[in-house]
């Protein structure tokens, strides 16, 4: 695979840096690949990627935090990147995996940072282990407690049924399922739909650090049996209600460009839940992937917040 031979990686964007170290953590039998940037002796921080991302989507953002004096510790979630594919996926399993990574770090409070699903995960983890967190940064990972306000009860019920039907239809197609192969350019183009403001150069670079090359083309290193969403009783307010009780400083960063990957939350949805003294930044003209689109801006916000 070309990821093993850096010379084959073309057009590495300025400032992008692959992890300084990789190590494995055994999370109840699932091999998780941990990615680290920065001095191993520096104060650690925990950084969680979003759903269908992987640690190396942080190759611009994480080095900025590392260069400011942190040991940045991220990991590929189960089924993502270089971590193992699992039999089952669930929110509880992801939290347990995160706790397994956290357990390998020095036993002291440290900042938790997470994007999207990862933001919601570290918020949950901060509730689970308040003694291990010193500050919390949530990057566009605050679900709205009031999403779909214009949808009638009837329509909501119909959506619930459609979601169940689609989920079961998906479950029936999983045997030997593979991701669709393509050229670097094709995978970059597909990813570009999630990251419409990113350059072709960056997207093609991302393919080379996040996909593997098979005989019939490149495939993202994401378990093809994973699926966005799913059906279940989860409600956004269950996550939001973790916010007011946080006992550590909190920074929320929200991209104000509405995108399909985003959660549709608006600042007004979040404000009532913020803990006293929490800082909240809405970024105009920036989409859901705030730290990928504007790594310098977001890294500076975080570094100032942590200082």
């Amino acid at each position: 695979m070309s990821i093993d031979s850096p010379s084959k990686i073309f057009a590495q964007p300025d400032g992008a840096r692959r992890p300084a170290r990789r190590r494995q953590v055994d999370a109840a039998g699932v091999a998780l690949s941990v990615a680290e940037w920065g001095d191993e002796q520096a104060p650690p921080l925990l950084l969680a990627h979003g759903g269908f991302d992987f640690a190396e989507t942080l190759n611009m953002f994480a080095p900025m935090l590392a260069d400011a004096g942190y040991r940045v510790v991220s990991w590929d979630q189960r089924g993502h990147g270089e971590s193992a594919w699992a039999h089952l996926y669930s929110w509880e399993a992801d939290i347990r995996d995160a706790a397994a990574v956290l357990a390998t770090l020095p036993d002291q409070p440290l900042p938790f940072i997470g994007h999207s699903k990862g933001g919601s995960m570290v918020m949950h983890l901060a509730n689970v282990a308040p003694h291990r967190v010193s500050a919390l940064v949530n990057l566009d990972g605050l679900p709205s407690g009031n999403n779909m306000p214009d949808v009638s009860e009837l329509e909501r019920t119909r959506m619930q049924r459609d979601e169940m039907d689609r989920w079961l239809a998906h479950r029936r197609t999983l045997s030997n399922k593979q991701r669709r192969p393509g050229t670097i350019e094709e995978l970059a183009e597909r990813r570009g739909r999630m990251n419409p403001r990113m350059t072709t150069e960056w997207l093609q670079y991302l393919v080379q650090v996040g996909a593997r090359q098979d005989a019939d083309g490149w495939r993202w290193r994401l378990d093809p049996t994973m699926r966005m969403g799913g059906f279940g009783p989860w409600r956004p307010e269950w996550s939001m209600l973790r916010l007011p009780g946080l006992g550590v400083p909190m920074l929320g960063v929200m991209g104000l460009e509405l995108e399909t990957m985003g959660w549709g939350s608006r600042p007004a949805d979040v404000q009532p839940y913020l803990s006293p003294g929490a800082q909240f930044e809405g970024l105009e003209g920036v989409g859901h992937f705030v730290h990928i689109e504007q790594p310098r801006l977001v890294a500076d916000l975080i570094l100032e917040f942590l200082s």
């Binding site: 109840a28 996926y89 995996d97 169940m164 049996t225 009783p233």
Partner: protein, 231 residues
């Protein structure tokens, strides 16, 4: 193979049909062939931590074949590595079994009763009545998440039931209005007068809400089975 057609005439008690659900091999047991092999089968869904019984439970009367599905991580089915159980996964387990055997009546114990409700909503033409009875895992994890924690199971023997199943499915949240929505899906789609029969004595919030819905019947397990057997 579809056992609902020709094969159903040749099944034997104790036979085991393997059903694939993604990376899990599920054990679908033939518990009894029944006096009338052409009658619609009864599908037993066990409770949390249980497995399909090896013989027909005492006092259970059904004229046709009786199957039992071992859920993921239970009985003879695959034990997944590293947990990740949800009720929705188990609904997928039952869906995979229905693809094998076709139309059934479901008798669910505890957790299996809850899963029976959800699959009846998802596959109204394949599920001809659900009998919801007492059993392990009936309560689930309450109506909203509790204080968050990360439980690791005790390192028990590497056999079923998977301890991850026990802790994760015991925390499965079941809001009453969520369960009611599925009752309404069932009622809307089914041509049965009573497509759901609540026979459990214990009534956690979700099941009390189900039982209070118009169109849901109440009886003993035996009465409910006799009613569905006659339809």
């Amino acid at each position: 193979m579809t056992v609902s057609d020709e094969a159903s005439k040749s099944i034997q008690s104790g036979d085991l049909v393997w059903v694939r659900h993604n990376r899990i091999d599920l054990a679908l047991h033939v518990v009894a062939t029944g006096d009338d092999p052409t009658h619609r089968p009864l599908l037993l869904l066990h409770g949390l931590g249980e497995r399909t019984p090896s013989t027909v439970p005492a006092n259970l009367r059904w004229p046709g074949p009786i199957y039992g599905l071992d859920f993921t991580g239970h009985g003879s089915s695959t034990i997944p590595v590293g947990g990740g159980y949800t009720s929705e996964i188990l609904v997928g387990d039952v869906d995979a079994a229905l693809e094998e055997i076709g139309q059934v009546t479901i008798l669910g114990r505890g957790l299996g009763a809850y899963i029976g409700l959800l699959i009846a909503a998802a596959r109204p033409t394949l599920v001809h009545g659900v009998v919801m009875s007492d059993g392990p895992g009936l309560v689930g994890g309450g109506i909203h998440p509790g204080s968050p924690s990360v439980p690791f199971p005790a390192p028990w023997a590497a056999t079923t039931p998977d301890p991850f199943a026990l802790i994760e499915l015991a925390r499965d949240v079941r809001p009453p209005d969520y369960a009611q929505t599925y009752v309404r899906f069932v009622i809307e789609s089914s041509n049965l007068e009573k497509a759901l029969m609540v026979c459990a004595v214990a009534r956690p919030e979700w099941l009390a809400a189900v039982a209070a819905e118009p169109g849901v019947g109440h009886s003993t397990v035996d009465e409910a089975l006799q009613m569905y057997a006659a339809l």
